[in-house]
Amino acid sequence: MNSRPVGQLDNMSNESNAGGPRDSRRTLVVVPGEDLGVSEGIEAGHGVLVVDDRIISTKQGRMSRKGNTISVDPLHTRYMPRPGDLVIGHIEGCTNNIWFIDIGAPFNSILPMSLGPAKVEFGGTRKVLDIGDSILCRVQEVEETHQSVVTMKGMGLRKIRSGALDELDPHLLGRLIGKGGAFLREMKMETDCRIVVADNGRLWIDGELSNILEVRRRINSISSEARVVGVDA
């Protein structure tokens, strides 16, 4: 039909089959602007655009094809909030009835008094949650203009009073959690720590200090491993 490299999907599978059994990590890495084939009969997922009946990648990442949907999972990314996400936020400021929360996203959130952890007297916001405090909360809504609201009404949502916080790039959370949560479960067992993995890449680790350090060591090794894998992707 035309001579543009439509067949990249096939090229890829040939390539990885050639080296023996297929490693799921070694999928095709694409770059912004790269042509991923005709759009006819294909659903455009995230990280791609349809331009002139062609699928174009908009990100540097691994191309994935699930059924009819082609998408690109970025190698690096910042957290983008979606309603329902469990996040760890830091209180950055407050007014008489609103807290401003840094959730590590391209825009900050608000926590209105009505969704706060306890009944607050008007003007008493800092007594309940002070600037610099950290909270486990859930994203309630994200408007199109990126105004977003978080809530602390819900099971397990609370102010974090002990333990330590750590970070992992959001796209690496999958590696930390493992299939069906197996890896994370194992780590919790072995280290005897409470570990809460929030969708914004922040982790709450609570337990004995030496165990916290062990968890951190393991998390750091995931990060540094990812850097190396990122290089030869």
């Binding site: 770059v31 910042r78 203009t145 990126h146 796209h171 290089v231």
Partner: protein, 238 residues
């Protein structure tokens, strides 16, 4: 031909002082992830130019007055390090840097999908730590690689190359001497997949034929450089 007519930049075989043919670009190396604390980064060595670019964001835009309710803004800071040139550059406000920052921002805003990040800011910091000629091209090209490294969605990478004229010969990718004694300079920013342009400047004196030749050199060179950028972003073995 001006005061420099007697400086011979092209030899009898049509080769340039550094041995390149008129259409050749200087050697280029590209590396990503060079600023560990940044969301994305790129180091590009192009001849003896060296640019280091870091991208931070998208993050909440401050101060509030720069926020756009419907899209993100890109904040570009292009700067030449004091030790990047033969004569030291005094740090501080500089009209040339301001202009280059602005045209770089205009070019980058043409490819980044800004509407995905309302009220946000993407910070692009371009530092030229060694300058030869064509630093704005290196800065813009490296910035597009750094944005890709940061996972920022964009319709295409940007490759920026300059061609010009020395001793009445049109040559691609001017080096320092050619830039100093040259008679024209035409930097362009090309989208390699569509061939469209997002950045264009020119100064000097070119005939319509020379202009056409310089334009074609730039587009051809952009395709060459694009291959290297893709290789760097894919990790070298793709």
């Amino acid at each position: 031909m001006g005061g420099y007519g007697d400086v011979r930049m092209i030899d009898e075989n049509g080769l340039r002082m550094d041995g390149r043919k008129p259409g050749d670009v200087r050697p280029i190396t590209i590396e990503t992830g060079v600023v560990p604390v940044a969301d994305g980064s790129c180091r590009m060595v192009w001849g003896t130019n060296e640019a280091i670019v870091a991208v931070y964001g998208p993050m909440e835009a401050h101060p509030r007055k720069i926020q756009r309710q419907d899209r993100a803004v890109i904040d570009v800071a292009y700067n030449m390090a004091p030790f990047s040139t033969t004569d030291r550059i005094r740090p501080g406000f500089n009209r040339r840097s301001r202009e280059i920052s602005k045209v770089t921002k205009d070019a980058l805003e043409s490819v980044v999908l800004l509407e995905l990040y309302p009220r946000s800011k993407i910070r692009v910091s371009i530092e030229i730590v060694s300058a030869e000629a064509g630093t704005r091209c290196v800065g813009l090209t490296a910035a597009s690689v750094a944005l890709a490294d940061a996972g920022i969605p964009m319709t295409d990478l940007i490759v920026s190359v300059a061609s010009g004229k020395v001793n009445d010969v049109v040559v691609c990718d001017l080096n320092k001497e050619e830039d100093n004694y040259g008679e024209a300079d035409l930097p362009m920013g090309v989208l390699p997949n569509s061939g469209e342009l997002v950045f264009l400047q020119m100064d000097g004196n070119l005939s319509p034929e020379e202009f056409k030749q310089a334009w074609d050199y730039n587009v051809d060179a952009a395709m060459e450089v694009h291959k290297l950028m893709v290789k760097a972003l894919k990790g070298g073995d793709n």
